[in-house]
Symmetry: D2
Subunit: 482 residues, 4 copies
């Protein structure tokens, strides 16, 4: 098993050749600047991995990252968009303004030690199964690297790190977009933990989610059931009609639900029941219209079962708007930085973990970069909204053993080792170098923005899928009970 102290980083030989030298700091020097800080970055990432704070409750995790940015000269604004754990850290001034997204929330209901076999950690109720401890740390590192370049070169330009909480269902970025926090940004950069290294242009699914809460009339289920109206009947009737609806939506639609409260005791007719729905489709407008049909199903279910229903929109996100010209810059830098190369200990760990995963893709593929081609992902992210406000570039880095699924224990396990850290460093350097390219080449930014305006369309008007609701700051703390 790899020890954090034993990490070795591959020399960035390719970079010394591929990257043109900047005024007073070459891209190779930017990469080295970050490599030299790997131990410090590792400490931060592993501390956040240990904390595993869930959405909107990431007080320590966000403070760790913001503190590091302040230590490197960033100015931090806290509590943006009405969210206590959201922040914006800024360095530099003038154009262009480059934003970097940084997430840090953990996933509840799953946890795991950093071992290549299933071993939950006693008493821990959440885990970094989506690698956000690496995400926030790498992004902050990239911002620090870009700030260093601005400082040393004296170039005009502003670098911002957006500390974005609660990606897992809390949709913080949407509230941040709605609050206008990205209005003056030229380009946004992001990345994600993965089992592959990739910077292809791609899209995903828009999503709108809501909790439907049915109210009925309680009664003794054996002695007076005729006096009761079961709220669970309402939930089941709604689900029935949504399941029928599956035939009558475009095939790329995704509708899924869990029953979050299905009654307390069989001998009492439940007067409360709750079901939690996601509606997804590549097109946000289709999501909007199908969501209305789901609402109609809930209303019809209430009418037909003698119950009543209300719903609360929980989250909502646009699908990603891919910008090919921007992904090309990211791709160039990713290929120059290169993939993840395991040392012997890491290889042993990876191969042990591979025994619990599908055989393809191979462990060796962590060292490679995926071909540049359009990719569709059937998943959603609140980064989607950002991509309709600002041209947004992204990449994946192989922080996990190839073949690992997001939200799996294997993701937590690898993310807690030097394997995760190596992937994190790939991301940090790729993002920093991309920012340097954009600061250095205004024409490229202009091209990117032109493609963005064209892809978005002249008629586009941003209307967030979460509507006018406030951030659900207690969504991880609430019980479904009435």
């Amino acid at each position: 098993m790899p020890k954090r102290a034993l990490m070795h980083v591959l020399p960035l030989l390719a970079l010394t050749v591929a990257v043109p030298s900047a005024a007073q700091m070459s891209k190779s020097e930017v990469a080295s600047f970050l490599d030299e800080r790997e131990e410090r970055l590792t400490d931060i990432a592993m501390r956040i991995w240990d904390l595993a704070e869930v959405g909107y409750l990431e007080e320590e995790s966000s403070a760790l990252l913001a503190g590091e940015l302040e230590a490197h000269g960033f100015t931090v604004e806290w509590g943006v968009a009405g969210i206590p754990t959201a922040f914006v850290a800024t360095y530099g001034s003038g154009s262009p303004v480059i934003g970097v997204l940084g997430e840090f929330d953990a996933l509840p209901g799953i946890n795991q030690a950093a071992v290549p076999y299933r071993q939950p950690i006693e008493g821990k109720i959440a885990g970094h199964a989506c690698g956000h401890h690496l995400y926030g740390t790498a992004s902050s590192a990239a911002a620090i690297g870009a700030a260093e370049w601005l400082k040393r070169t004296g170039s005009p330009g502003t670098i911002r790190l957006y500390g974005t909480p609660a990606e897992e269902g809390g949709s913080a970025k949407v509230y941040m977009v709605r609050a206008g926090l990205f209005d003056d940004v030229d380009v946004v950069l992001a990345w994600h933990a993965s089992g592959v290294n990739s910077a292809s242009p791609g899209s995903n699914l828009a999503v709108k989610s809501a909790k439907f809460r049915f109210s009925g009339v309680s009664a003794h289920a054996a002695s007076a059931p005729e006096q009761g109206r079961s709220a669970l009947d309402g939930v089941e009737a709604m689900n029935f009609m949504v399941n029928l609806m599956r035939e009558h939506v475009p095939q790329e639609t995704r509708l899924h639900y869990v029953i979050t409260y299905g009654g307390a005791a069989p001998n009492v007719v439940p007067d409360f029941s709750e079901v939690y729905y996601y509606v997804r489709h590549p097109d946000p407008e289709v999501v909007r219209s199908i969501f209305e049909r789901v609402v109609a199903a809930s209303a019809g279910a209430a009418e037909g079962t003698g119950t009543s229903v209300e719903y609360e929109v929980i989250g909502g996100a646009y699908s990603r708007l891919p910008i090919v010209a921007l992904q090309e810059v990211v791709y160039e830098n990713l290929t120059s930085v290169g993939g993840v190369f395991y040392d012997d200990q890491e290889l042993a760990f990876a191969e042990a973990l591979k025994g619990t995963l599908p055989p393809n893709p191979s462990v060796a593929s962590a060292a490679t970069i995926q071909p540049f081609e359009h990719r569709m992902t059937y998943a959603s992210s609140d980064a989607g909204d950002v991509s309709w406000k600002v041209p947004a570039g992204t990449l994946s880095a192989a922080t996990w053993i190839p073949g690992t699924a997001a939200h799996s224990w294997q993701a937590i396990a690898a993310g807690g080792t030097t394997i995760g850290v190596k992937g994190m460093m790939v991301a940090a350097k790729t993002l920093a170098l991309t920012a340097v390219d954009l600061f250095s080449d205004p024409a490229r930014v202009a091209t990117i923005r032109a493609e963005f305006e064209k892809s978005r369309g002249a008629d586009f008007r941003y209307d967030p899928l979460i509507g006018d609701r406030d951030p659900p700051l207690d969504y991880r703390a609430r019980s479904p009970m009435p």
Copy 2:
């Protein structure tokens, strides 16, 4: 197998002793008057059995009965309550006015030869599985017998035979009650074909039925299902919610349905679908409120599936209001007339048929009279409405082999033989003698009406469950297709 020509009727020995002599015609003579006409009555009943005309289409059957009544001095009014095959035949004048109900419609979807084993008749699409050929004939005979008594004795009084079509789902009596045809009647008498002889007071279930018709949007089910809205989805969602509702209604409730049109071809999203519902409960007001909940289920189903729905009330009937004082008169006369005694041929037929039936009650029980006690029947009849307008007495006569279920092929079989005829004669004589008793004893009529007023309650207001719809004269002819 019994031949119609070989019928032997038991001498009414009991009657010659038990019945007090009336002015110019004793009850025993009334019974004999009917016995002497048995061959003629048999011809009529068997002709109707052969015709097997279904609801509202009973042109020949009703004409046969009305013709016989006219031949005995009755005045016939046709087309009452807007129903071509409904009639009222009247004899005599003054009080009291005694009505007798006579049904004559057959049941579609079942037929059978008069043999003690299953043998459908080729090409025949309906059969007298509920014995209405005997019902109408015996009731007409009873009215003729009572008229003869009125004529010979010169007593004041009016006897009426109500020719009531379409009992099987057409609810003709309800329209006849609604039209005021029973408003001036003092007492109504009725009977029904059965496997037992009984004149106990009893009640049954009120019912309201309707066809719910869903409309959707048709589309190619493979190439454009997202453009379709399935009307069958509407039906299934409605059914789902009604099935949930079963838990939340009083346990004596009955809810049942069939899907009468569920789409034409799988490769087309159905734009039409129909489901046919019955709602029943002992209390008509409970039926009314549960029916509204079923309507709400249909509306909720339409809303939740993107379809629309309309419903047509098909039938509706009150539960029977039993009048003990009236049943006592019927019971006295039934016990004096006696049960059904098989001759050797009939016994052989009965025992052969018994092989296809439950062993209990025994074949011999056809000769006995059931004890007088309150009985609840979980079935419905449009005679229910009559019983809330006029005190209504009824009996069952053993026209079928004991153990035979209504609507079975065994009922058709026995009803086509002398066994059915013997049961019919029991009913004809019991009804005629009961009418004579009521004509003879005004105090008894007063007692009956006093109980009726008290049982019905001072606040009672008749509000038919069929609402204001017209008789569904084409309900047996229509296709569910739009």
Copy 3:
């Protein structure tokens, strides 16, 4: 609001007249013996009310009662039937052996202060909404009273208090019957908290309950739903088929369920889901057969949804076998003890609480005794099994404001005041005096046992509905999560 210190007990004037004096201790003296100990009994009952320990976790509550019995010379056997909190406390020797049942578990999910308006107690997760704090205390008091009579009179006879945990879903008495703990008992006595005073013979519903646990295959609900098999689909399909089944069971059947685990997050296809079912009917054998059909529905649902299912029987109880000859003894003593009379403070409390309850029956009815007549209750109790092993007599005492439903906050509220204590004293004295009558009159015991043998039938073989499972000692502690 009544204070515990202000309780006034009505003088037992009726008893001094009505009860014939026994050898060295009259029934009146037995009643007085208990009245003198009311303050002590109040302390015990209110301590258990405060503890509100849930099923199989009633360590302190059971110890309080057993300690009181030991202090009065009873020998206590702990851990009977493999249940740590179950005990049998015995006094005396020889025949007859009279058992008294005592319950003491609280109901989770509900709590309330002893005030006549809704006021949950912060941090308390359970409450005595079924009055078992009074039940156990009154029964123990009755046993102590009967023991005192045995001691003073020197009569032969054994009195036993059965400390029976976990009535609310844990079915402890069934395990205790199965373990043979009632094999040598002649008569068992019991009671229950109520809004009325009654000792009529009556029956209730047999019940069998189980948790059905479906397992599926987890998958990302958006990116790979076709690889998933939803365990919640299994639950919903099972429920669907059970809801269809409602039409095809005898109308006295009760089927009810809650979904105790319906998935964790909508974006993951649930690989686990749980539904908790009760099946009830007056006849245990009908329960058994319908339960098998419910199991078939679960198996069919698993087959049809590509999931698997296992079930765990949670509880099971026979319906009560009423013994009229025994109820007559209880009824005689209840009428002599009399009902519950409120003082001014109690009346004010009762009337305030009545504002939250149906107007009928009136507050004043707490002072009356219900007429002696057969009563059917659509509820279940694990005391049912006892009643098929031993003749079991029971009564209800008005510990709650008339009109209060079991398992309501109003029941907790009244049960925490002197109103509850007064009802408890009615029960304690009635049970003690009934035991004295049985000890005094062997012929009456013989009559009771003869009726019992006849009612139960010669062919009866006890086969507990819980089968061979062990007591679910952790049923209140477990999470439904796999």
Copy 4:
């Protein structure tokens, strides 16, 4: 409205240039040969349009086509594959063997006069809503044209017309493939009526269909529902589980059903019910596996509802295997033949009908040829199986107004006018000229077959989705009643 006598055919100018002259008969002469026979072909097509014979009952329609082929020297074999209305008509000898498919069955449940507004024909229960009257006629004409070329040139080669009945649900071609009728064929040609002219390579959906028949226990729905087991419950439970399954199949899957028998009368628990299912997906093996899951849903439904179920596979077809090299030949000939040009009367008809159709594509597009590109169609055809046995080329011809859907009344209307005939002539000439090309150029046939072998794969083993069932010769005549 266009009269049949007024048809004008565009001169085939393009052909005179593009087609190389053959030995004694140029391709231009082959086209002219067909054009000269247009009136005769029109008579045949319109006679079949009038007959509108449904699947496996096309006695006159098939005889008309076979008679015409015999009149041109073809030898006809009747009753192939055990199907009375299927035939194979052969001309010539030796290699290559070219087959042409000809359909002729009408669609039940829809009919229409040849007018540009909705006007059903009284008493007609079927119509050529899929243009098979044109299909069979054009294919026969093409075979006759190719035979003429073989005769005049004396070239080796065999031309066969396959008279394939019951395409609409009867899957006759599958039985014909299974019977080995295509084993010695080198290339098969086909076409279809459409609103466009196209010869692109494309695929569609494999399909497997079945009727699931549930049996239960009948009972009076009001008086003894607990004795009944509703077969309709089985159907609804199966449907419920299939609707849940929609979430867990690949998104290209299509599952659709209609309830073909849902009970006779609400007052009887149905002991029979039938549901008719289609399962479709591009991959026949996926269809096979999902069909098994649908069968599991039926079995689970039966188990869970106390019913039993059997199923009968009704149809099954592979998806089309496209052969690019063959489509290129068809495309070349289609572009040389050209599209459909309306005269003034036809234009007026087309524009009137367009008022009932979507505005795009335009009426004018009937004159154009669609670009050559891969196309996916979400529909199925029994020609799919042929395409896995023999390289099969196909085209669409604009027999309908652009924008017309198959199975619509607009398709019947246009198909009954000269518009349909003009499209038919496009198809007839394109197929004939393609056959001539293949007879003329063995190398091209070899290329086609090489691609076919490669696309099909070395491991391919044909296993028809209909299994070993016999042709459902009575599938249009049967009632679902048991």
